[in-house]
């Protein structure tokens, strides 16, 4: 199993952000992790990737316990986190050349892969911009390239398409589909149901820190399943508007 989480709980003082999440994601699948704002999606991703410590529960990624050997897990995963996790003082290119050797790539391999990724994401000409001076979209594409650079076995992407131009988003989708076809697992959180439905094979819907539904796309329209579990607020009179 690429991702196996059991009984994941995260509390911040009295507030429970994640209240016992169980997850399994198989190799070669793209899994959508959905839910409204504040449902605990990003906190769960942070626990799965070692950015936060679970209050309770266990995480196993690619057969390795995250708690027992976090560095071994990090070598096998790629992460596009919510806040992108870039160093303001490094250029976009330097982020990639910094990361490559840490994942065991040679300098030549790193430069070749970094160049390919940045060209494909339409970022190559901007590669010498410092992250602190780059636009949000440029920073996000860099974080995406960083996540892919070492050919991870499992990829975690928190809202990957938000703030990305359409052509780059399409190229990103192609890369993800290709990666999954070769056996990697892709774990995506997103608010954009249409995008997710076209991309993912399996999904989980999170609400109030708990998984309230999970299944395979294609059985029923994802929107129907989502709104069944996450009802839309309704009933207000907006005749004053417009």
């Amino acid at each position: 199993m690429s991702i196996r989480a059991a009984g994941l709980v995260k509390r911040f003082g009295d507030f429970t952000a994640v209240a016992g999440v169980d997850l399994t994601v198989e190799p070669g699948s793209i899994h959508g992790f959905l839910g409204p704002n504040g449902s605990g999606k990003s906190t769960t991703v942070k626990m799965l990737t070692g950015l936060r410590i679970p209050t309770a529960g266990t995480v196993e990624i690619n057969g390795i316990s995250l708690a027992a050997d976090p560095v071994a897990v990090k070598r096998t995963i790629g992460v596009l986190p919510e806040d992108l996790a870039l160093f303001d003082a490094l250029t976009l290119w330097e982020h990639l050349t910094l990361a490559g050797p840490l994942y065991g790539l040679t300098a030549a391999e790193t430069e070749q892969r970094a160049g390919q990724l940045l060209r494909y994401l339409d970022l190559f000409d901007e590669r010498h911009t410092e992250a602190g001076q780059a636009s949000y979209g440029m920073r996000k594409k860099t974080a995406f390239a960083l996540a892919l650079l070492h050919n991870p076995k499992t990829l975690f992407l928190d809202e990957p398409f938000e703030g990305i131009d359409p052509s780059s988003a399409e190229n990103m989708r192609e890369l993800l589909v290709g990666l999954a076809a070769k056996g990697a697992a892709v774990f995506i959180t997103s608010h954009i149901l249409d995008v997710v439905e076209k991309l993912v094979g399996t999904y989980s819907i999170l609400s109030g820190g708990k998984v309230v539904a999970s299944g395979r796309t294609g059985d029923r329209p994802l929107k129907d399943v989502y709104f069944e579990h996450i009802p839309r607020p309704a009933g207000e009179d907006f005749t004053w508007l417009g």
Partner: protein, 353 residues
Amino acid sequence: MARLGPLLLSLVKIRWRTLLGRGNAEITGEVLLLLGAAILAERVVAYLPQLPMPGVVAGLAVAWLGLSWGPEGVPGQFPLTRADRMLVRLTEVAVNPLSWVVLYVSVRVSPWAPLVAVLALFEWPVVKRGKRLSAGPSRWPALLRKDVRAAVRLFDTMMAGGIALMFVAYAVREPKMAVEAAWIVPVVLALSNSNLALNAFGTDQGTGFDRYLLLPMTGAEIVRSKTQSLLVLLGAPMALVSLAVFWRLGGAMGGTIVVECLSLLLLLAGWGAWTSVHSPYPMRAYRFSDGGSVFYGLAAFALCLAPGFAAASGQWWVRFVVLGLAAALAWQLTGAAGRRLESRRELIRARLP
């Protein structure tokens, strides 16, 4: 005016809640720093000529602009006229206690002192806007290059560089260098860079710290990388000072200063690694006061004095005892910090913006 009332009231609330809120030792540190300047002003005021009022006004104007670090983005969202914006700006400045400290210092000492300080601290575009400086040699490891590039934009590092250069200028102009200057300057260099040492992740901010956590590095490797950067950043001005001492005061005194510098580097590296993991805080480019725990800051101050006193003692064995203790402390604390970084990562992340 009534229309702007809620907005102005909100700005006052934001300012005071930030100032009085928990974990704002940073702002307290700045207030203490300026109060210290005010106390010094009382001491030296008799020796300074009173300068004309236009200078006071100019100094305050610049100080106000720089010190009004309020939430500029908030008023920017509202349909405000030019006059409204001016009123908002003045309110931000007026409710900032730092403005009043600057006013006091300006009046008591000299309008030009705060003018120059504020220009350097708050208004210098290279510092404030993070304009690109030298990238550093490309063969340097990227993490070191990143740390150096971020650090050279800090006022701390600029001040250390300036002090080292002034010392060299002093050595060039004065063949009979004062021995006291030789052992005091490395301590001053260490103290001026203590912010960088005590808060190693401050320049990365939270998002950069997250990247450290995502990279396949152990806590010990992360701490080691930070220590390496500190040694380069602080070692460079110290090397310059040591060379000047060798030149003017000879090998024996030069050797003493090298031992002193090594002791200072090791002490700051060790203590800094520990405090960086245990008491991180947000860091700004134009601030050189210690914004973390007061205890950790005072301890760093005391630790930095030890090699200076050892150098001044005239006893060679005292210097080597201090060096040995510094090495032992560095070894123990960097190791402990590396081990503890993993378990404290959430706390560190939560304290960095």
